[in-house]
């Protein structure tokens, strides 16, 4: 069997591995270039340390900055076209979805999945062992069903001093009748292994730059899976797929791609390759773009629709005493209790991450603090003390709010073309009242938490800030999480969905679209683990069909 996998990111690398291990000849076509060796150096020298800044990008295969944004809101979620994909820059936080996240349609909000948590549970375990997750099963069992006897491959990472400081105040307290508990967050970075597990790479030594780059390789990236590929898997980078062809029966027969050498121009040569099975794994927006360009898989008219992200509300303040920010992974714990419950019918649920990196994300600390204090006239020892006093108490709450599937939020093809002559993706994206109500509810919970903690609240959303809006008269702002999904939505009927529960396109028996684009809901979890579980499930399905 000859499989062509489009995209060498998170999902594509996993699918290629399983297929290669089971005798498939696999060709992986990656639009981006090979990853660059100088990412850490580029990160250190970057003025703004945004997620994509360390990585090599090319004119021929631009990353998310080439998406045409038609509003009314901005998706604000970057993705990277480079070998390894956005999984190179990701944060490495891997909570599972909750069982009720698979049934959001029942709440009258968004769509149901054609499979349940229990159906996906074995694949979650497989993904956690393939990626290498550090977490404690007993602790996770307090908010999500983990089978008895299951062990994560690594013990939970130690919490930060900040985590303990917050837990010592809020654990056991209540907000809106909900009992608060600070819970460790599963991490895709190396800790202490359990018996029988051999971590790939160094143990996390606390560089505190996981997003965008871990200098010691303690964080999982798809490159790790690629190193385990069998010799039957071939990777070709700088190959941008621009069209799939199907015969009258619907079988996909051929994949066209454009190959370029030069990072700075659109100069290219054209190629085609035949395949028995094609797996699109190019990112939610890119998968939709390819299906639309090819005129395939769209009998339901759902290709590109149901685009979802995780609008993030940041709130930031000063703890009453120094806690030592900017140490360890970006977030090691969270408060899970607002992810579910009856309120979910009325407003979007949310997950609260405790942010270990001061006001780095929310306000650009410590550069911004220094500038402010210098402008206020501080010099010398007074300045040094003021910076220490300000920064050493900083913390941020990073609150991910669910966004429901809405067919009006969609990817289409823009009139504008990229350097290869291919139409650029265009995105129409709006936050619903349901999402805005969720953002506002999360702000109110944050206010209560700050009060309990005796924290000095420095949160401020100003009309000049990006992604600012007002809701019920209150100023709000959202940030992007980089979690795009829904654009080739999975369902139980070809009438209203693009792929089936195996991520196979209803219209094409040998065409699969994998990744977050298949997800009918994102819940409140960072979606990469669920994407990985789905990818492994699809790969096993392909292997069993080939036998």
């Amino acid at each position: 069997m000859r499989a062509v996998v489009v995209g060498a990111g998170f999902a594509g690398s996993l699918v290629a591995k399983v297929l290669g291990d089971n005798g498939f000849r696999v060709l992986v076509l990656e639009a981006g270039a090979e990853s660059n060796e100088d990412a850490v150096s580029r990160y250190r020298k970057a003025l703004v340390k945004s997620p994509l800044v360390p990585f090599r990008r090319t004119a021929a295969a631009p990353s998310s900055d080439y998406v045409v944004d038609t509003g009314p809101h901005s998706l604000a979620s970057p993705y990277l076209r480079m070998n390894g994909g956005t999984g190179t820059a990701w944060t490495g936080i891997t909570p599972r979805m909750r069982p009720d996240d698979f049934r959001t349609g029942d709440l009258g909000r968004g769509r149901n999945w054609p499979l349940s948590y229990d159906d996906l549970e074995p694949s979650y375990r497989a993904a956690e062992w393939e990626i290498g997750i550090a977490a404690d099963a007993d602790e996770q069992r307090r908010h999500v069903p983990i089978p008895e006897g299951y062990r994560y491959p690594m013990h939970a990472l130690p919490r930060t001093f900040l985590d303990d400081a917050i837990a010592s105040v809020v654990d056991g307290q209540r907000i809106d009748g909900r009992e608060l508990l600070v819970v460790g967050t599963p991490q895709a970075r190396n800790g202490v292994p359990v018996d029988g597990y051999h971590p790939d790479g160094q143990r996390c030594a606390g560089f505190a730059s996981c997003v965008p780059v871990c200098p010691e390789g303690a964080k999982y990236t798809p490159h790790r899976t690629q190193r385990r590929w069998s010799s039957t898997v071939e990777l070709r980078t700088r190959c941008a797929v621009n069209r799939l062809h199907a015969d009258e029966s619907g079988r996909v027969t051929k994949v066209d791609y454009q190959r370029y050498e030069d990072d700075t121009s659109g100069r290219h040569t054209r190629h085609s390759v035949e395949a028995d099975v094609v797996v699109l794994a190019a990112h939610a927006i890119e998968n939709a773009k390819l299906l639309l360009l090819s005129g395939l898989a769209n009998s339901s008219d759902q290709v590109g629709r149901n685009l979802m992200g995780h609008p993030v509300l940041l709130t930031w303040g000063l703890m009453p005493h120094p806690i030592g920010p900017f140490r360890g992974p970006g977030s090691t714990t969270g408060i899970e209790t607002f992810r579910s419950g009856p309120e979910r019918r009325e407003r979007a649920p949310f997950r609260i991450e405790i942010g270990n990196w001061g006001w780095g994300w929310s306000a650009g600390s410590p550069g911004s603090d220094t500038a402010e204090l210098v402008a206020a006239g501080l010099r010398g020892t007074a300045l040094r003390q003021a910076v220490a006093e300000r920064v050493s108490r900083q913390f941020t709450l990073q609150i991910e709010v669910e966004q429901e599937a809405d067919p009006a939020n969609r990817v289409t093809l823009a009139a504008e073309r990229d350097a290869l002559g291919t139409p650029r993706p265009s995105v129409h994206y709006a936050l619903s009242e349901y999402v805005k109500d969720g953002l506002l509810a999360s702000k109110r919970v944050s206010d209560r938490l700050f009060e309990m903690l005796g924290a000095e609240d420095h949160t401020a959303y100003k009309p000049d800030d990006g992604h600012y809006f007002e809701h019920n008269g209150e100023p709000l702002r959202y940030w992007g999480a980089g979690h795009s999904g829904g654009t080739h939505v999975m369902g139980s009927s070809p009438r209203d969905s693009v792929v089936d529960q195996w991520q196979r396109c209803w219209d094409h028996p040998n065409l699969y679209a994998v990744g977050c684009g298949s997800m009918p809901s994102l819940g409140t979890s960072n979606p990469s683990l669920t994407m990985a579980a789905l990818a492994l499930r699809t790969a096993e399905h392909l292997v069993s069909r080939a036998r």
Binding site: S41, P158, G324, V374, R384
Partner: protein
């Protein structure tokens, strides 16, 4: 005595020895001697000179991080679990 180092020490609150230990004195003198105070402070504290970070070392040795008692992210490996401990206090 070195006038640039002396002025830098006065502006930043870090001693001449602390400034010399960064290895950046000569580079910064070439860039910033005679520059306005605020620019000299920004360079020492954040490694930023007129909208760019000239070298990796300029970022890694930023005095804002040293004032707080932590390493600039992505530049040092304090060790597995080091984040559990209480914060180090700044030297003064």
């Amino acid at each position: 005595m070195d006038a640039f180092v002396e002025l830098s020490a006065e502006l930043t609150g870090f001693s001449a020895e602390e400034l010399r230990s960064t290895g950046l004195v000569e580079q910064y003198r070439a860039l910033a001697e005679g520059a306005p105070e605020a620019e000299i402070i920004q360079l020492w504290y954040t490694g930023v000179w007129r909208g760019a970070i000239p070298t990796e070392r300029a970022y890694a040795e930023g005095l804002a991080w040293k004032a707080v008692g932590v390493a600039a992210p992505g530049t040092a490996a304090p060790g597995f679990g080091s984040w559990e401990r209480g914060p180090r206090r700044s030297a003064r």
